[in-house]
Amino acid sequence: MRRFIVPAATASLLGLILLASMTDALNLYWQSVLMFMGINIILSTSLNLVNGNMGEFSCGHAGFMAVGAYVSSVLAVALFAPGGFMGGPYLPGYLTVFIFPLLLLAGGLAAAVTGLLVALPSFKTRGDYLAIITIAASYIIKSTIENVGAVGGARGFMGMAKITTAMTDVWDIPWMLLWVFAAVIFTLVVIRRYVSSTFGKGVDAVRQDEIAAEIMSVDTDRIKLVTFMLSSGLAGIAGGLFAFVLGYINPGSFTIIKSTEAMVMVYLGGMGSISGATLSAIVFTLLMEVLRPLQVGKWVIIPMMLILLMQFRPEGFFGHRELTDIVPGLRRLLGREGDGK
C-alpha cells in the first residue's frame, strides 16, 4: 500500500492542476508561472548533480539548455510545420501528441552529447578549470547558434506555436502544462534513482575524496562523464520545454545570466539535496515574479541575497540533507527506513 502513496499524490496533483487550468480557476498567467517553475526544477536538480553531488563548479548550464531547445524546436518545425522550412510538413498534425516527448528526448540526447564533448577536456585538469571550460563552452554554443542563419541566427527561431496548436487540435487540454509536469516527474525519478543507487553514491565519494574513490575501484573518469551527461541531457530537456512554452527562442535567452539563475537555485537549496533544489526552484520562480516590478533591481537583490546566504547559511535550505532527513515522519510514511544516506 505504501508504495502507492507517492504515485497517487502525484496523479492527484496533476489532475488538480489540469482541472484548475481548464476551468480557468488557474488563469494563463499562473499557468505560465507553473510551467516556468517546472522548467526551473529540472534545471536546478540537474545542475545539482554536478555542482552539488559531484562538488564541481559548472557554469555553463545554459549552453546545454540552448542545445536542447534548438534541436527539439528545429526538428519539430521541420517535421510538422507547414511553410517550407526544410520543406515540410512531413507528418500529420495529430502525431504531435505522440512525437513531442520524442522530440524532447532528442534535444536531451543532443545536449548530453554536447556535455560529453565539454567534459572530456576537463579530465586532465583540476578543480576550478571546469568552470572555465563550461563558461567557454557556453559562449561557443551561443556563438555557433548566432552564426547559423538557417535557424535564425541572432534573430531567433520560431514556429513552435504551430506544434502546440496541433496538439490542442487533437484534444483541448493545456498540453504544455502536462508535458512540463511529466518531465519534472521524470527528472526527479531519474535523479533520485541514480543518486540512491550504489552507482550514484560513487558520485558523492568522488566529491569527498577522489583519490580514495579511485583506489577503491571506482572508475572516476567514467562516473564523472556519466554524471555530466545526465545533467546536461536533463538541461536539454528543460531547454526544449522552454522553447515550446515560449514559442520563440533566441541565443540571448541562454547566456551566463541563465546559467547564474540555475546556480543560484542550486546553492540556495543546498548542494546534493534533491528536495532542496526543488524547493529553491519553486521559491526562486515565485521570487522572480514578485520582484518583477523592480525590473533591473531584481538582479541586484537576488545576488545580494545569495551573498548574504554565503555568509550566514552557505549550505542553503537543506545542506546535504533531504526533506526525509528533516521530517522523519515523512520517511516512515514513504517506507524508506533502510535507505541509508
Partner: protein, 255 residues
C-alpha cells in the same frame, strides 16, 4: 607464479630519485613489513604498486600481469587493496555506504538497470548490501553500519578503513602506517586485528609502519629502505642487529 613481483623499481620526480632499484616478491600469504626513516620512499613504493604513479624504470607484476599504465581502479580490481596514512574514508557517507561504494568494480549492472530498477539491479544491490554487512560483522562493526565515520573515534575509523579495503576481496592488502595516530590500547587491538585478518582471509599483507613494536610483533620478514634504496632484508632479530639500519635511524655519531 608469484603473487607480486617488483623488479628493479625506480621512480624519479624531476631530479629526485625517490625509489632506486627496489625489489620484492610476494608468493602468496606473507606478512611483510616495509620500514625506513621519514622520506625514505616507502609510500612512493606503495603509490607505484597501487597504480598512482608509473615506474620510471623497472616492473611491477601482479599475478604475472604487468601493471604499468593501469589506472588505480583497475589495479584494485586485479586484487590489490590499500589504506592510507591519513584515513581517507568518505566522512559524509555512512559506514555501510563506504563499503558499498568499494564494490564498484563488480557492480554488474548498468545505467538502464539503475533507472528502471530491473530485477538485475535489485539482485545486485541486495548482494552488495549482503557483502557489506558480512564484512562489517566479521570486523565487529555491524552496530555502526548507519553511522557517519566523522562521528566515530579514530581507532574505529581505522578499522572501518581496513574493512573497506577487505571488501574489495584483495589478494594483497597494503597498509600504509595503520597504527599512525592510535592510542596504545588501540594499537594492541590493531595488532590483534591484523594478525586475525592474516589468518582468516586468504591474502598477503604488506605493511608500512613506524611503530617498531607493531612491525616486530607481526612481521616475520621486514625490508628496510633509506633514500629509496633497500638497506636490509630479514627477520626482526636480524634487522634490529643490523648496523646499517641502526645508522639510518639513529645516525652514526658515537654515542
Amino acid at each position: 607464479m608469484a603473487l607480486l613481483e617488483v623488479v628493479n623499481l625506480t621512480r624519479d620526480f624531476g631530479g629526485l630519485r625517490a625509489v632506486c632499484e627496489f625489489e620484492t616478491t610476494f608468493d602468496g600469504r606473507e606478512l611483510m613489513g616495509l620500514i625506513g626513516p621519514n622520506g625514505a620512499g616507502k609510500t612512493t613504493v606503495f603509490n607505484v604498486v597501487s597504480g598512482f604513479y608509473a615506474p620510471s624504470a623497472g616492473q611491477v607484476r601482479f599475478q604475472g600481469k604487468n601493471t604499468a599504465g593501469l589506472k588505480p581502479h583497475k589495479v584494485t580490481a586485479l586484487g590489490i587493496a590499500r589504506t592510507f596514512q591519513n584515513i581517507r574514508l568518505w566522512f559524509d557517507l555512512s559506514v555501510i555506504d563506504n563499503i558499498r561504494v568499494s564494490q564498484y568494480y563488480h557492480l554488474e549492472y548498468g545505467l538502464w538497470d539503475c533507472f528502471l530498477r530491473t530485477e538485475r539491479y535489485k539482485r545486485r544491490e541486495a548482494a552488495i548490501e549482503h557483502n557489506a554487512q558480512e564484512i562489517l560483522e566479521a570486523l565487529n562493526l555491524a552496530e555502526f553500519a548507519q553511522e557517519l565515520p566523522k562521528n566515530l573515534p579514530y581507532g574505529l575509523q581505522r578499522r572501518v578503513e581496513i574493512a573497506r579495503a577487505l571488501s574489495v576481496k584483495p589478494k594483497l592488502l597494503m597498509l600504509d602506517e595503520p597504527a599512525a595516530g592510535l592510542s596504545s590500547a588501540d594499537v594492541d587491538d590493531l595488532i590483534k586485528l591484523i594478525g586475525w585478518i592474516h589468518k582468516e582471509f586468504d591474502l598477503a599483507i604488506w605493511m608500512i609502519e613506524h611503530q617498531m613494536d607493531v612491525v616486530m610483533k607481526l612481521c616475520p620478514r621486514i625490508q628496510v629502505i633509506d633514500f629509496g634504496r633497500t638497506i636490509a632484508d630479514g627477520t626482526p632479530a636480524q634487522i634490529q642487529a643490523n648496523p646499517d639500519v641502526i645508522k639510518a635511524y639513529l645516525g652514526d655519531d658515537a654515542i
